[in-house]
């Protein structure tokens, strides 16, 4: 099947990738949104003093 990839998804914060598969008729057979990033906020906030967390997590998205 033909695959169209949109990489990166633009005009937003963060990373995304879209894969669109077209069948022989040129219709969309399926489309996949992929998130190609990992930063780990869920882990590295563990053990931090609670009053520091509001100074760390805004860096998830600066927009």
């Amino acid at each position: 099947m033909k695959k169209i990839e949109i990489d990166p998804i633009s005009r937003l914060e963060g990373h995304g990738k879209i894969a669109i598969f077209l069948d022989d008729a040129g219709d969309v057979a399926n489309a996949y949104l992929q998130i190609p990033e990992l930063r780990g906020f869920e882990q590295f906030c563990v053990g931090r003093p609670v009053e520091e967390v509001p100074r760390i997590v805004p860096r998830i998205c600066g927009v």
Partner: protein, 325 residues
């Protein structure tokens, strides 16, 4: 008419704050538009990698790379930006020294993934599904980048010409960098484009000659004197070892400095410098007293390496560690 410069902006493991900081330069953006064509900025416009690849090597006058290097695609982007740019700027704390994402370096990538996909309270994943770098979907193959074993700062991957520190960088220093490029009067290679002293020099609070701390306190548990130095009140502040230029923005807002502008010149390891600075202000008559005062520090590693863990001279160690949970 002189040929316009070419600028490129590459995001990596970032939050977008650096790119918003560019927009925060307000009307100076018009000067940037006059000065340069933007050949790559996917956060703002619909660019793809092929647009940057099509620029001849060295064809980008100044490349601004923001975000930490966290996966193998980021490594590719760092090398691509280095090849295409005459001048490469590590833009923002993440590119400068790893930033907040480099806090992940306290754990292995597998431990992080285990938390994200298996144990974090907000996830329901009984089959233990994990992202794969390649996946055979019924229609065809899907691929995503591989997360690296640790987060890196930009200069640990490619040669960097300048650093614009901060989380986020401040408009006045972004403007200073743009003006340096426009005038052709660039500072020596490797310059961190910000102040040259420590945050204490810009801090509006009163400092006495002697700092003598007998107890460390958490900022929200005390009624703190708004005029007096935070460290003197026993509140951890990274100001003494942090480069200035931010006009002590966090202190002005009533919070302690957390070191986002990185270390001052001639400091090899910011965390070590901070540990030493904090230890030196403790007043104690006996070893036992000193141990007690320092024992009250609840998260020294997190305070001293908040934004710069990737650049720690200790590297990313995998020794014995107690579980936090």
């Amino acid at each position: 008419m002189p040929e316009k410069f070419k600028f490129a902006f590459m995001p990596s493991a970032s939050c977008g704050g650096c790119e918003i900081a560019i927009v925060d330069i307000d009307e100076v953006i018009l000067k940037v538009a006059e000065l340069a064509d933007i050949v790559y900025w996917p956060t703002a416009l619909d660019f793809k990698d092929k647009d940057l690849e099509a620029v001849p090597d060295g064809g980008v006058t100044v490349g601004f790379f923001n975000g930490a290097v966290r996966n193998d695609h980021d490594v590719h982007h760092a090398r691509l930006m280095r090849r295409k740019s005459q001048v490469l700027v590590a833009f923002g704390a993440c590119a400068h020294m790893g930033g907040i994402p480099s806090l992940g370096n306290f754990w292995t990538t597998e431990e992080i993934a285990h938390r994200m996909y298996d144990t974090v309270p907000s996830v329901v994943n009984p089959e233990g599904t994990r992202p794969q770098t390649t996946f055979d979907a019924p229609e065809g193959e899907l691929t995503i980048p591989r997360a690296l074993e640790r987060a890196y700062a930009l200069d640990q991957v490619v040669d960097v010409d300048y650093y614009l520190p901060g989380c986020p960088p401040q408009p006045k220093w972004i403007i200073a960098a743009v003006e340096a490029v426009a005038s052709g009067e660039l500072p020596p290679k490797g310059t961190v484009i910000a102040g040259t002293k420590a945050v204490c020099d810009e801090c509006p609070r009163e400092r006495s000659e002697e700092k003598q701390v007998t107890e460390f306190k958490r900022i929200h548990l005390v009624e703190n004197d708004p005029e007096k130095c935070l460290l003197e009140q026993g509140i951890i502040c990274c100001g003494p070892a942090t480069r200035d230029g931010c006009e002590a923005a966090c202190i002005v807002a009533g919070q302690a400095c957390r070191g986002c502008f990185g270390p001052t010149d001639n400091v090899n390891d910011m965390g070590a410098k901070l540990a030493s600075a904090i230890a030196s202000i403790v007043i104690a008559d006996t070893q036992a007293e000193a141990d007690k005062i320092l024992g009250n520090l609840d998260d020294p590693a997190g305070y001293f390496y908040r934004f710069g863990l990737a650049k720690s001279m200790l590297g990313v160690q995998r020794g014995e560690r107690k579980d936090d949970e």
